[in-house]
Amino acid sequence: MSIPFYASAEQIMRDRSEYARKGIARGRGVVVTTYADGVLFVAENASSALHKVSEIYDRIGFAGVGKYNEYENLRVAGIRLADLRGYSYDRRDVTARALANAYAQTLGSIFTEQQKPYEVEICVAEVGVGPDDDQMYRLTYDGTIVDEPEFLAMGGQADLLTNEMRAAFAPRLALREALAGAVHALGSVGGTNGAKRALPANQLEVAVLDRTRGKRKFRRITGPALSELLPDAEAAPAESGDTAPAGSVETAPTDTGATPEATPETTEQQPEA
């Protein structure tokens, strides 16, 4: 077995990108979209304890896909940074833009300096006073940061998911319609032979940043409140066998649906290197 003495920078970056993409494509999808009262997070997640969506600060929410321990690490770091900023300055001085920049720096450094890149894609969203002030940032494994004005889809088969969302999205939808669109999009990918899947409430993690709430805008929608909001067909219990075993979030190789190679490499940006 021969040991390669030299690998070009291009080759190294390409390998790392491919490695990260494969890891991300293995998991289930997350959709983040604006709606009339703020920002809606919808994640396909069989676990009710290991979250993909979280509160960061008063107006800021977080969603992550990929390797659980890595995006959980980023989530905790984000909460710590936000709380430290809010405590040393003022609560209004904590912004999604600053947080997204910090994430981008970190992910970028890890991608170039460490042997293994983070296999994650995250979203930082902030709800503003009006619909025009809502912000969503998508951050990929290499530190690329993209400001998304309307919606974003991450995770396995993100491109198909994005296409589905593009068809379903309309600005300033009511919560019920926005949720129906996102759940429909998530159910449209990952089925056997392209078949649609029904996603019952216990397979979904749903949260909103609702500008009409008090100080803390983040609210999880669970249990009966979620079932009530879901379209009837989706709320019916699924008998299909494609539900992931409880506790397996993202990393379980048994995850059904997308094979890593199935993910086309179209919209994602290449690393800057």
Binding site: N73, L74, V76, R80, D83, Y87, S88, L99, E113, K116
Partner: protein, 276 residues
């Protein structure tokens, strides 16, 4: 040449390298110790002090009230300071002692509770919250010995209680961080002797919200009557005590218009019995 967790970590991840703790205070102590209250070392000669806080159990939960005066020596430093705070959705803290440090400790404590809730995805139990506050007061012991003591009163609605009637709970503390569960009602601060005397006569089990609001305002009135460092209700400037409740539906501040009615009713009663 370890690559898994380097010490000189990148950007935001330096906030995440210490695994485990969900405590914001411990995190600040490691990351930015100069931000912690009471670490300045520059002590003013006559810093403002806050005075009387009372808390009492009632049918739906617990109520806490504090007067509005801060004193520096024999002078009134502020007439409308607020010394009772909602620390999260189900707990209240009132502070007596050096006002500057006390307010800062409350601010840190509010972030502490929210930080835990966000990282862990669940709230601390009421006993856990009380223990955390005790630890923070103990951290201020060196300042307390220099005359800058902070003595809080903690009250909250215990979501784990078996029935709502017993869910309201009160904890008092000493400067060493000792934590003492109190029954029925309690008070702290220089005027608390008189306020607690009043509470003993006025408090009954199972009072309604409106009744308990009057009881605590009257207790503060008695404290202000006999303690120069406690401010009474000020009708000319419309400064009323801060009264807050913690019940199953969360924390709520009693509106000023309602306190205005209560205070006027108390004054009318006292006018009829000047010896009271």
């Amino acid at each position: 040449m370890s690559i898994d967790r380097p010490r000189d970590v990148h950007g935001i991840l330096r906030y995440a390298t210490a695994p485990g703790s969900s405590s914001f205070t411990e995190f600040v102590a490691a990351a930015a110790p100069e931000l912690l209250p009471g670490r300045t070392g520059n002590l003013g000669a006559a810093v403002p002090h806050g005075t009387t806080i009372v808390a009492a159990i009632f049918a739906d939960g617990v109520v806490m009230a504090g007067d509005r005066r801060a004193t520096a020596g024999n002078l009134i430093a502020q007439r409308d300071i607020e010394k009772v705070f909602a620390t999260d959705d189900y707990s209240l803290v009132g502070i007596a002692g050096a006002a500057g440090i006390a307010v800062e400790i409350v601010r840190l404590y509010q972030v502490e509770l929210e930080h835990y809730e966000k990282i862990e995805g669940t709230q601390l139990t009421l006993d856990g919250k009380a223990n955390r506050l005790g630890t923070m007061i103990r951290g201020n012991l060196a300042e307390a010995m220099q005359g800058l003591a902070v003595v809080p009163l903690f009250a909250g609605f215990d979501l784990d209680a078996e029935d709502a009637a017993n869910a309201g709970r009160i904890f008092s503390f000493d400067v060493t961080g000792g934590r003492y569960p109190e029954q029925y009602h309690h008070g702290v601060g220089s005027g608390s002797l008189f306020a607690r005397g009043a509470l003993k006569k006025l408090w009954r089990p199972g009072l309604s919200r409106d009744e308990i609001v009057r009881v605590v305002v009257e207790a503060l009135y008695d404290a202000a009557d006999d303690d120069a460092a406690t401010g009474g209700p000020d009708l000319t400037r419309r400064i009323f005590p801060v009264v807050m409740t913690a019940t199953s539906s969360g924390t709520e501040r009693v509106p000023e218009t309602e306190l205005d009615t209560v205070v006027r009713a108390i004054l009318a009663d006292r006018e009829a019995r000047p010896g009271a």
